[in-house]
Amino acid sequence: MTEQEIFEDLSRKFGDKIIEFMEEGTQNPTVVVDAGTLAKVATYLKDDVRFQFNSLMNLAGHDADGETDLSVIYHLYSTELKHYITLKVFTSRDEPKVASVAELHKTANWHEREAFDLYGINFEGHPDLKRILMEDDWEGYPLRKDYVPAEFYRGMRIEKVK
């Protein structure tokens, strides 16, 4: 099934919660989904026999420029039907909130923790949302473009990032 068909089907099912279909400027055609509906879309995509997107290859947080909304990108793959779809959700910078898919795709558990760790995106419904790569008491979200590292961490000087 092509990405276009998937998008059309999703649009029929979820209406205006499916925001747009991006084919330009990306190698992986992307469906932009409303942040609140994402879990439902992912469940639908996984359970529907025509899609069977049972494998979440990748989950990446993204901050384009430090001003606009943060986004989360989901790369889905079906091991049965061997087709792909990329989902993207936007969430506000000040209060980033996305529904968690950790129960649906267990692999998302750690990936969401990573996105939380590095971008501060709150995944609602995540069983154990805490920092994974950085220290538990680290301040700030390092991969945000507007991140300014603190001078010291527990008395240790933080080397400036080149």
Partner: protein, 318 residues
């Protein structure tokens, strides 16, 4: 029944395994151990097609510069992902002849400092291809052994002591000349600033800032035209310290240089910190080309960095 087949398979497979080890035990020694200082690994030869330099066909290890051939273009400095190369250049005076490289390129910049910090180098070999003169290269010398009694860092002040022997200064320019050039550059900069001030005062307009900006840019463009030997090179962030030959060129004080003592060999040259410290960068370039010669990382911990370090130590303790 599987009980007995288990036992029998256990015995047979274990004996099988023991055969292998015994086979190696009684075999004439085709050992893999290298008795390192007595035997050394045969360095593989490889021809990567750069120049005719025989020593180039080797493994990637210690990074060196044929300093006579360096034109100070800083292409390697920009290519370095970890900023382990620190170059300081000053524009040569109009009647000064620094020489030519082996490719007969006239050297236009006096390289007063060429530091390679091998303790930061990650041996990626990205700096060698951009070099227009093929003068920076990786040699097969992988034994970074210092015969000096290297002190381990015990205090914050001595933090970098333990890797002093890994910081190589290739420039043979004497510290006196270097200081001289630094002073000259500062003089030019001061003169420039004074001129700016005067200009600004004369203008007395709100557009003064804009004019200054324009002037700066113009200078920079000119300096770039002068310094950039590689057409690909983005404008260097070191422009501001380069003496800009505008209306009144300040010649380098050559007599002073001649009266200077013989330059020391390629060892570390004890240079006061002020000279190595880079002036403030006027604007932020694409981050990768940012080459701030961080005093505390690139150079010896001397007097100038002491207060900072000691205060840091206090903070850490506190």
């Amino acid at each position: 029944m599987s009980y007995f087949s288990n036992i029998s398979s256990a015995i047979t497979t274990l004996v099988d395994g023991m055969k292998v080890t015994m086979g190696y035990f009684v075999r004439p020694r085709e050992h893999v151990t290298l008795q390192y200082p007595d035997e050394v690994w045969p360095i593989p030869t490889r021809n990567i097609g750069v120049g005719e330099i025989e020593s180039y066909n080797t493994i990637r290890s210690k990074l060196v510069v044929d300093f006579e051939d360096c034109i100070g273009c800083k292409a390697c400095e920009r290519a370095c992902p970890v900023d382990c190369i620190h170059i300081e250049t000053f524009k040569a005076g109009p009647d000064e002849d620094i020489g030519t490289t082996k490719n007969d390129t006239k050297i236009k910049l006096r390289v007063t400092s060429f530091i390679i910090d091998m303790s930061e180098c990650m041996f990626c070999d990205l700096c060698t291809p951009p070099c227009p003169e093929d003068c920076i290269r990786m040699t097969p010398d992988y034994q970074f052994i210092s015969n000096d009694n290297v002190k381990l860092a015990v205090t914050p002040e001595e933090r970098w002591r333990d890797r002093d022997h890994l910081i190589y200064e290739f420039s043979k320019v004497s510290p006196i000349e270097r200081a001289q050039r630094q002073a000259d550059a500062e003089k030019v900069a001061a003169a420039k600033a004074a001129a700016m001030e005067a200009k600004k005062a004369a203008a007395e307009k709100a557009a003064a800032a804009k004019a200054e900006q324009e002037a700066r840019e113009a200078e920079k463009a000119r300096a770039e035209a002068a310094t950039a030997t590689d057409s690909e090179a983005p404008p260097s962030p070191f422009i501001s310290e380069t003496p800009v030959d505008s209306a009144e060129p300040t010649p380098i004080n050559i007599p002073t240089m001649e009266s200077a003592p013989e330059p020391e060999p390629m060892d570390r040259i004890e240079v006061p910190m002020e000279t190595i410290k880079t002036p403030e960068i006027p604007e932020v370039k694409p981050v990768s080309t940012e080459t701030t010669a961080e005093p505390e990382t690139s150079s010896e911990p001397d007097s100038s960095s002491e207060p900072e370090n000691s205060s840091k130590g206090e903070t850490e303790n506190g």
